[in-house]
Symmetry: D3
Subunit: 158 residues, 6 copies
């Protein structure tokens, strides 16, 4: 395991990691987030007669995954071959899980995290008139595979 931040050179200056020599490989990552809200707001989310608010959040998350390299300064641009966000209502809010794939020289962890982060913010936006105390927690990587550093996997407690 490295002991220093990969985005800093030996003089301590910020840098983008050079992935020019890394081979293009199939890569996958998944992340999750939990949007905690009170019972009244969660109920309103369900009462919507026609459109499904969670579908809007999913769309926003997918779109954000595609734009991750614009948001995170030292992220490499990547061509995503797949991006998805799943949203499911739980007892105290909404759980979001993303899945992102590419074939490229570096991984898609940041894309997976950006997808759930923006999906969660979109749920906040739609519910904020009812409840400003909504909280986003457990925003974290669930899994990544592909690439030299191998597979990482954590268990979701959500």
């Amino acid at each position: 395991m490295p002991q220093t931040l990969s985005h800093y050179d030996t003089a301590g200056r910020v840098r983008m990691v050079d992935v020019s020599a890394k081979p293009a490989m199939a890569r996958h990552a998944s992340a999750e987030a939990h949007v905690k809200m009170n019972a009244r707001t969660l109920k309103a989310l369900h009462r919507n007669p026609k459109g499904d608010p969670l579908e809007i959040a999913r769309i926003a998350g997918i779109a954000a995954a595609k734009r991750t390299a614009e948001l995170i300064p030292l992220c490499h641009p990547l061509l995503l071959t797949h991006a998805d966000v799943e949203a499911r209502v739980v007892r105290d809010g909404v759980c979001l899980t993303s899945a992102v794939r590419t074939t490229g020289p570096t991984g898609v962890e940041m894309e997976a995290l950006a997808a759930v982060a923006v999906a969660a913010l979109t749920i906040y936006d739609m519910c904020k008139a009812l409840d400003r105390s909504i909280e986003i927690t457990n925003l974290r990587l669930l899994e990544k595979s592909g690439g030299k550093s191998g597979t990482y996997r954590r268990r979701s407690d959500l």
Copy 2:
């Protein structure tokens, strides 16, 4: 307090709230997030000889605040007159607090939340080679003022 989601019309179709008739007012919002990491990673964040990784995260958060309306589908575009992100190292990670201002017909809660969310993701990006289990929690609104719905304030436990 409203009982239904403001972003849905009476037929249940998603909509952008019409703020055409709302007066331009000074508005402020503040949000926070907590980036939890292990002691070894936190130490590496400090060992950096010259540049300050937290400054990069702050910049990324400020830039994200300016682009919130591109990320959140039903957000109104606003001209921010100020956006800031403060980052401070705590016992078990980094605490981020944003402050955003505008003069306009609607508030800047989403901009404040987007700022800390993207700043937190940027810290994850810089530290991920050391620790993939970093977790973002307590992403939430601290305060908003201005506008018809008045002032909201919660106490930070961070």
Copy 3:
């Protein structure tokens, strides 16, 4: 009525119209488009069990309205106070109608047109595996009001 293109100066060079001296006024515009598809595809659009494909198209149109000044080179940036796209299934396809509002020095015709254009393209994208011959027609301004040039209104035949 002017006899020359407003986006060209007297020497024939392209230019952005200078609206510095124009007062900020409430402005509104509405546009429509017709997405013509065969009966089989239209039926598939309805068979979708849960999400509503037309909601995705509406969201894409609203997002495009907000980014019109990035797409159309000589368009002025404007802060939209409202943007909406309505989609309704008709005998031979889908009719899209947009409504956009701002308070500013120039009108929102291009935003209204961009909204229905991108909503229509999004419907094409979702249906293209079933039918590549889908055609977008009648993409046109329905109404604009506000500003020195007054109100324009055409009757929709859709």
Copy 4:
């Protein structure tokens, strides 16, 4: 031929098609659109002494092709190796034809359509002070080749 929308999973939730397993292949697509305007406006388009308004429309269309994945929510990002828009004046307006190429796992139909759509909107923008009744019609795919679904070709009537 598929019977269901490819952008929806079996539960009816919107999704981006997973193209991770599809090989990178040379792909081409072409689309067209017709901008119908009255004789007086068409004449003004010609009277411009120096710059050519149609060149601006062509540039806007090429730029839009490059940004298609930002506009259409479920479109995959692709690296275009070529994008062109041809504009020719006809009896009752302007005909636009695009040609787009890539080497990748999925096709460029949406890029070809986005290019002519935005080029057509740009012509509207430049002429709107003269004529607000300009109408965009026949926005449709002319041809696509490459990929598993083979070649599609329709005859242009423009």
Copy 5:
């Protein structure tokens, strides 16, 4: 005159200047740049039979002015009411001059500079196959007016 950088707070942390309390005023800025190229390339720029390469550069500069706040991290977003770039062929290359206007709480110097910078890069792009030694010099502010700091004006030597 201030003695310290306005974009840093007293602790030395980067910041966006807070312009919330500044009144909206009419503001103008103008900048210039010189694209130096050899005689053979300059001649090719003229030999182009139909389109005018300098018009493309002008369009790119105008579009860049509108997106300045996305490029420069601490720049405030502003609604430009006018942006123009003039290009004229001189003995040893091309001179570019921009003019940008807004009504807002802060000035448009960066927008004026971004416009000529991107216009100059666009000329480089179009000519680079002929001459890679093209050089951009004298990229600088010519004039700014409006706002508390008053009017600045320098003489162009180009």
Copy 6:
């Protein structure tokens, strides 16, 4: 060496070069720029107690390199595998040098130039309250390698 501009077809219409048939190769480019400022401003740049203003400029340059195809109308989108900007204080200002890499069908000269251009503008932005006469000069390509046209190299005089 070609005699005509590569971005124009034989009829003189602007075009994007078709690189569909060019093989993906490792490509590198480097560019430089000089930000000239007076002694007082240069001293203030150094006096900053904590953050390093030059790090912000470097970040802005790296981000701009990633977005070059959005800024320059006829540039091909490319997936950068590396982008860096080095900033060093010299006697009369700051020298910026970029290095950009990709594996693709066309080169990264424009990305290297865009990186130093935007980094230079960011320095201007941070110093402009102290000195509006700051000038950007010597913005030019230092080196490019890879691709059919081979290696180009110029000596820096900075």
